[in-house]
């Protein structure tokens, strides 16, 4: 009950902000923050619950973005349909990739997901209809009724998507699926022996994670009015999606949310005030510091702190 109340509150705050605040920059920045909430939450379903490191975020994200862009170019489909199609395509990729690669453990899976990014980027680079390496210019249609600007509309849409992603992650975490996934993380052999359908659960997690990443990328072409492979399949999405849960805490659905909000806000500030190189540096340093010094992330630190002060 408390979760749904706060989720509703967050979403209504986003709507109210869209109605009151005039400066469009905040919505540009806010969109990115919320997008990373979606990506980090999606990443954590496979990376945090099951313990499989996925560097393939740009593959799922980019496939979602390109699905939406191509669909829009071909049929001028509405935004909702673009998002659904993107989620379906990326979910399908997650399903196929999961079946092929989830038999691999640890670093092998991680490397295989990097391979996925490069292969899909190469395919898109050679696909003339989708603009190839030079990219595709897209003409935004006028925003739908209650919204006066397209960016605000995308911002509210992304807020809804973020709430949905967190709700899905929370559901998975609390159901028998989540228990099975955690059992796999702790010991795959033991889980298999205890009757946990390990491969099926892993593929399920990979599919849901991929679909959410695809949905998170679906509105990117409209957000930029433009899409091109080099920036769409950029490894920086993998970095953000991986670093946020690591910093926030991978154990529960709240960790990636906290991590993503913190990390992408810091990134926005550093990019604007110092430089975009420095922003990647900050992520790298934070990532290393957290995995070494605080393996349970910010949530783990808070838990440790409250436990020691209550004693």
């Amino acid at each position: 009950m408390k979760f749904w109340a706060s989720a509703g509150l967050v979403f209504s705050l986003a709507v109210i902000a869209a109605a009151i605040v005039k400066n469009e920059y905040y919505f540009f920045a806010g969109y990115t923050v919320l997008m990373f909430v979606v990506l980090a939450t999606a990443w954590n379903i496979l990376g945090g619950y099951v313990g499989y490191v996925n560097f393939g975020t740009p593959a799922f994200f980019g496939l979602g973005a390109y699905t939406a862009a191509v669909l829009f170019k071909a049929t001028a489909a509405p935004l909702a349909l673009q998002i659904l199609a993107a989620a379906a395509m990326s979910g399908l990729l997650g399903f196929a990739a999961g079946l092929l690669t989830l038999r691999l453990r640890g670093i092998f899976f991680a490397i295989a997901t990097i391979a996925l990014v490069v292969i899909i980027e190469t395919l898109i680079n050679n696909w003339r209809y989708a603009g190839g390496a030079t990219g595709l210019q897209l003409l935004r249609p006028p925003p739908t009724a209650p919204f006066e600007s397209y960016v605000k509309m995308l911002f509210v849409l992304m807020a809804a998507l973020a709430v949905a992603a967190v709700a899905i992650a929370r559901y998975i975490e609390r159901s028998w699926i989540g228990r099975g996934l955690r059992a796999i993380r702790d010991s795959e052999e033991a889980a298999e022996c205890s009757g946990v359908p390990t491969l099926r659960l892993k593929v399920f997690a990979c599919t849901v994670s991929g679909a959410l990443m695809g949905a998170g990328g679906a509105t990117m072409p409209m957000y930029l009015s433009f899409i091109e492979p080099a920036s769409t399949f950029n490894l920086n999405y993998a970095i953000g999606a991986l670093a946020s849960p690591m910093i926030g805490g991978t154990a529960g659905y709240l960790g990636p949310v906290i991590g993503a909000i913190l990390l992408s806000t810091v990134q926005q500030v550093v990019t604007v005030t110092i430089s975009s190189e420095m922003n990647v540096m900050v992520v790298g340093v934070l990532l290393v510091v957290f995995v070494v010094a605080a393996p349970e992330g910010i949530l783990g630190l808070i838990r440790k702190w409250t436990r020691s002060s209550s004693r």
Partner: protein, 291 residues
């Protein structure tokens, strides 16, 4: 597409040169990841760092290969430090070393990459030497001399490392630690110290590989991302830790990449190494010469 035998022959010759070079840049990873099981994603980044050190030394008149050799002791120490840190922070704690260890090396690669951007900018850098820019003509074929030099150094490097691992006491200890750490401990040897030594050697080799990298072509800070695919596909295809396998796998990658490059164009080339990697992982995860 017109099929031409001459073009194929040229692709194969070039692929062999390229393949030896790929084997040389992967052999450090073959030790650190293949033998020691450290998820060393930062290996290509350290190699690119070596290229930049070579570039800096080149300004003071050092030949790139000499510079690479000069850098080896410093990189050896650096590697020992990195392994010690990794061991203390992850391996010794034991819990969840997988996810966090990978994230650690990923973060390290980022820091190196951005550090290089901040220090040198994103422009491509190259070195000068007598053999760079010239090429050797064999009949109709023109082979760039820089590739021949890299080829020679690569062969020397690999022979030396193979001999070291099979003939010397420490080398055999490194192989032993890969096979059975507990047994080694029972024999009275300290596996951590041996691993640290081996990681140092792997990093020193990466310095020389970095020198080869900047000889073969200009480097930029982001180059490590491409080489993650190439080095890992060579090491996995070889079968973890197999030195002869590394050469064979390098040749397979080099030849297939150069054939794709000549027949389909440069835009398809990046997918070759990763495609090969996926195929190997799917069909024969233990590699060609798996242990």
């Amino acid at each position: 597409m017109v099929f031409s035998f001459d073009l194929l022959l040229e692709a194969v010759v070039f692929g062999i040169l390229l393949g030896c070079f790929y084997a040389a840049v992967s052999i450090g990873l073959s030790v650190s990841f293949g033998l020691l099981d450290v998820p060393h994603i930062a290996h290509p980044a350290i190699m690119v760092f070596g290229s930049y050190c070579t570039f800096v030394l080149g300004r003071y008149g050092f030949d790139p290969i000499v510079a690479g050799v000069v850098l080896m002791p410093a990189f050896f120490v650096l590697g020992m430090g990195v392994y010690r840190f990794y061991y203390e922070a992850f391996e010794r704690r034991g819990s969840d070393a997988g996810v966090r260890g990978i994230a650690f090396f990923f973060g390290l690669a980022l820091i190196i990459e951005v550090g290089l951007i901040l220090a040198f900018g994103v422009d491509q850098r190259s070195v000068e030497a007598a053999y760079i820019g010239k090429s050797l003509s064999i009949g109709e074929m023109r082979v760039p001399l820089r590739f021949l030099v890299a080829f020679g150094v690569a062969l020397v490097l690999m022979t030396a490392l193979t001999l070291y691992l099979s003939k010397t006491f420490t080398g055999r200890a490194i192989k032993a630690v890969a096979q059975d750490e507990a047994a080694l401990r029972l024999m009275g040897a300290n596996p951590v110290r041996i691993k640290q030594w081996a990681f140092g050697i792997a990093t020193a080799v990466a310095a020389l590989a970095g020198a080869l990298l900047i000889i073969v072509g200009p480097v930029e800070p982001g180059l490590d991302r491409v080489y993650i695919g190439r080095t890992f596909s060579v090491v996995v295809l070889a079968g973890l830790g197999s030195m002869t396998g590394t050469l064979a796998a390098g040749l397979i990658l080099g030849i297939s990449e150069s054939i794709v490059l000549m027949h389909f164009g440069a835009s398809w080339a990046p997918a070759v190494s990763f495609g090969l990697l996926l195929i190997v992982l799917g069909i024969r995860p233990q590699g060609l010469f798996g242990r």
